[in-house]
């Protein structure tokens, strides 16, 4: 599981901050979080990611 890249999609900044800290501590690589579905799809268009099942 280590080394997986995660895109956080969340409009509440504090939650994003908290999740980022938790996930980094757990050893995940994080790309810039998205604050809406549109920006998330844009980010996915640029750099395709494996989707969490």
């Amino acid at each position: 599981m280590t080394g997986e890249t995660i895109l956080i999609v969340e409009d509440e900044g504090l939650i994003v901050l908290h999740m980022t800290e938790l996930l980094e501590k757990a050893g995940y690589r994080l790309v810039d979080p998205a604050f809406s579905v549109e920006t998330a799809l844009q980010a996915l268009g640029k750099a395709p990611l494996p989707i969490l099942s």
Binding site: G13, V16, P33
Partner: protein
């Protein structure tokens, strides 16, 4: 008769009836002699056929009538009789003329042949035919008969051609008549030669003419003379009532008769008594001369006596006529005188009548009065005359009309006053004054008026006053004479008439003048009325036009009105519909308002609840005493409580301001800054300035901004103003924390600054591990999408540029 144009007939006679009766006589003569000629021709054929030789008692061997001659005389005689009875028509006339021409031509040729002793073939042929008809005594035509036939035929052609045409001259009838006379005389000579028993041409180389042929030629000649008419010579001289014609009518036949009788008697007696003695001849001749003279004397005596009686009668009648003429002349004189008198009077009366008929007014008064003067002059035989009018201004007389006076004379009398001269005297006396001779009259003797009158040539004068019907004097009517004279009673009566007429004229003229004046006034009034009428008419026209215009407008308006009514109806329906909708809307609005109020109440309640929850959480933190044992715990508790307050304050601001979608940043940040400051002791020396102008943010960004402001203001209180830092000394101003939000080109710019000691050297607030700044950094970039810049020249200033479109 006298007015008719000069014509030959007129010279021959002076009576149309005579001419007509003579024409008829001549026509009858032509018929009789033409028939005689034809009968003679027929008789000739018969006698020759039956062997009866005419005048056979004289000589049995005399020539018989040739067939050609007989036929010619029968034809000519018949045509002459027919033409005289009834002129030939155009076609038949032409046919007859052609035949006559043929006869003339054939007989001319025969004449030439027979003189040379031979015959033309036609004559030979006719002799042959004659032998079979007449018998062995048939003979060829004599050249004498042929010549006479030629002349007669041509004459007859001319007669037929000229019949029916108007006679232009007597030349053609004269010529025919003379030729015919020649024919008659020649044939008569032949007849006489037979009668004397010694016919002509016998024993010569020429064929003699038969007795009956000569007789027929004679008849034809006489018929031709008759056909030529009474206008031809010699008949022309023997007709009419002139003495010469009468004498000719008596003497010409008489002489012919006497000579013929004398010759027959002489020849007969000498033959009877077989006298051959010259003495006896002479004696017989003397006896006949005496007898002739006796007869002529008797006839002349009878005619002369008749003429004398007629002359005596004429003289006597002439005398009677002279006496009657004298009587007539004297009667005529009387009549002339009476007529002249009557004519003068009539003319004067006609003038008067004409004058009375005239339209009289002031303008033509003078010429009319002049005519009255002329009439007076004509009636009285005067040389001058005038009419004066009474001039009320001069109280005298003024000459209104005159005849025959010079200018200076008029000027003198125009200035005469009452009592002067005849007229003045007559005016003063009020009745007529007659001056028979001014040189003898006391009116004039010794006055300058006498000289004036004499210079003008006046010797006598009468003046008749002109008075109105009421007797008011109007003027004076005077006539003047060059010789001493007194008008007689008739003239004076006529003058009275004229004076009456003149007075009436003057009176009428004066009345007319007044009438004219009134008429003019009336005309002026009429014109005024007419002009007013015209104005009224024009006004009326204008009104009518306006009315028409208005009617048109009214119609237009009616149409519009109907349209409006329709529109109004539609509108009313719309309004009703709208009214219904409005009611619905009102109901909806009420519902909505109720719903909104309910929603607001709910939102307010929710935000109140969230704030209370947060406040409760803050209280929990304070109540939990575990935090106050360490500095770190107290600091954490303070940080947490401040962060929670910044959130609770958002909800409080929302329900306090009553706005739930946007947060009023002015209210919010002021309250927030005060709350942060209240938890630090440094607040006493630090001034907090919040400068937010009319900015409202949505809840999410307002919360984020509130957290950022909370962190930075807290940092400023914690680190910017350490004890011993003198703001006035370092910055030249009191210690200040400034929070501001401003608009710039659609971008909200949030600034949090202090004028404290500033960040330490080498400290990068964007990469620091400090939670507060890390939070600020993260929230600003990710939540606000803001660009962060930091100014360090005067303390520390964080500037966030928030692009609205990036949210």
């Amino acid at each position: 008769m006298a007015t008719e144009p000069e014509s030959p007939q007129k010279r021959a006679s002076c009576d149309t009836a005579d001419i007509l009766s003579e024409k008829l006589l001549f026509r009858r003569l032509a018929i009789v002699f033409g028939l005689l000629a034809a009968v003679t021709g027929v008789l000739g054929i018969f006698t020759a056929h039956f062997g009866i030789t005419f005048v056979s008692s004289l000589n049995q061997s005399y020539k018989t009538l040739s067939l050609s001659a007989a036929l010619i005389w029968i034809f000519l005689g018949s045509v002459l009789a027919y033409q005289a009875a009834k002129p030939l028509q155009r076609i038949s006339g032409l046919v007859v003329q052609v035949i006559l021409f043929l006869i003339a031509a054939v007989e001319t040729i025969e004449f030439v042949f027979t003189i040379q002793g031979s015959h033309f073939f036609i004559e030979t042929l006719l002799v042959g035919i004659g032998t079979s008809i007449i018998g062995p005594t048939s003979s060829p035509i004599s050249p004498a008969a042929a010549g006479l036939a030629v002349l007669a035929a041509i004459a007859l052609v001319v007669i037929i051609r000229d019949s029916g045409l108007p006679a232009k001259s007597t030349r053609i009838p004269d010529t025919i008549s003379i030729v015919s006379l020649a024919i008659s005389l020649v044939s008569f000579t032949f007849i006489l030669s037979y009668l004397y028993g010694n016919p002509l041409l016998y024993g010569t180389q020429f064929i003699p003419i038969a007795f009956l042929s000569a007789l027929a030629a004679f008849f034809v000649g006489v018929a031709l003379i008759a056909a030529a008419g009474p206008v031809a010579v010699p008949a022309r001289y023997m007709i009419g009532n002139s003495i010469s014609a009468r004498l000719l009518r008596v003497f010409v036949p008489l002489v012919a008769y006497i000579i013929l009788v004398e010759n027959f008697a002489l020849v007969g007696l000498s033959s009877w008594f077989n006298i051959r003695d010259a003495v006896l001849f002479s004696t017989t001749l003397v006896v006949f001369i005496l007898a002739t003279a006796f007869v002529v004397a008797k006839v002349s005596g009878a005619i002369g006596g008749a003429l004398e009686r007629a002359e005596q009668e004429l003289v006597r009648k002439n005398e009677d006529l002279g006496a009657m003429n004298e009587e007539l002349t004297s009667i005529q004189h009387d009549l002339q005188a009476n007529e002249n008198q009557l004519r003068t009077d009539l003319e004067a009366m006609e003038t008067l009548q004409k004058i009375s008929m005239l339209y009289i007014h002031e303008g033509n008064l003078e010429p009319i009065l002049t005519e009255v003067v002329d009439a007076a002059i004509a009636i009285t035989g005067a040389d001058f005359g005038n009419i004066q009018l009474v001039d009320p201004e001069l109280s005298g007389l003024r000459i209104a009309a005159h005849r025959g006076f010079p200018e200076w004379w008029l000027n003198y009398w125009n200035s005469v006053s009452k009592g002067k001269g005849t007229c003045g005297t007559a005016l003063a006396q009020g009745e007529r004054v007659i001056v028979g001779d001014i040189e003898q009259s006391p009116i004039f003797i010794g006055t300058p008026a006498l000289d004036i009158q004499l210079r003008a040539g006046v010797r006598a004068v009468q003046s008749t006053p002109l008075k109105s019907r009421e007797g008011k004097p109007l003027g004076m009517f005077s006539t003047h004479f060059k010789v001493p004279h007194r008008p007689d009673g008739r003239q004076l009566r006529l003058l009275d008439l004229l004076a009456r007429q003149a007075a009436d004229i003057i009176e009428r003229a004066q009345s007319q003048e007044i009438l004219l004046k009134k008429n003019e006034d009336l005309n002026a009034a009429y014109e005024e009325i007419a002009s007013t009428e015209e104005e009224l008419r024009q006004t009326n026209d204008v009104l009518l036009a306006n009315e028409r215009h208005l009617v048109q407008k009214n119609e237009d308006l009616n149409v519009l009105n109907e349209e409006l009514n329709a529109a109004h109806e539609e509108l009313r329906q719309n309004i009703e519909e709208l009214s219904l909708r409005e009611q619905e809307l009102t109901r909806s609005e009420v519902n909505l308002r109720e719903a909104l109020a309910e929603k607001e109440v709910l939102l307010s309640e929710i935000h109140h609840r969230v704030k209370n929850n947060l406040t409760a959480f803050i209280s929990l933190l304070s109540l939990d005493g575990s935090y106050k044992d360490t500095d770190g715990g107290r600091a954490l508790r303070l940080d947490l409580q401040n962060r929670a307050r910044s959130m609770a304050l958002i909800h409080e601001t929302l329900y306090r301001t009553g706005k739930f979608s946007k947060v009023d940043m002015d209210v919010y940040l002021n309250t927030l800054a005060s709350q942060v400051a209240s938890s630090y002791e440094e607040r006493a020396k630090v001034r907090i300035v919040v400068d937010v102008r009319d900015v409202a943010l949505d809840i999410s960004r307002a919360t984020t901004a509130g957290l950022i402001v909370n962190e930075l203001v807290t940092n400023s209180f914690k680190y910017a103003f350490p004890p011993g830092f003198d703001c006035m000394a370092v910055r030249g101003e009191p210690c200040t924390i400034q929070v501001s939000v401003a608009h710039e080109d659609g971008t909200d710019i949030l600034t949090v600054a202090d004028n404290g000691r500033g960040l330490p050297e080498g400290f990068d607030p964007l990469t620091t591990k400090s939670f507060g700044l890390k939070l600020v950094n993260f929230l600003a970039r990710h939540q606000l999408r803001a660009e962060i810049s930091i100014q360090r020249d005067k303390g520390t200033a964080f500037i966030f540029r928030m692009n609205k479109g990036n949210i």
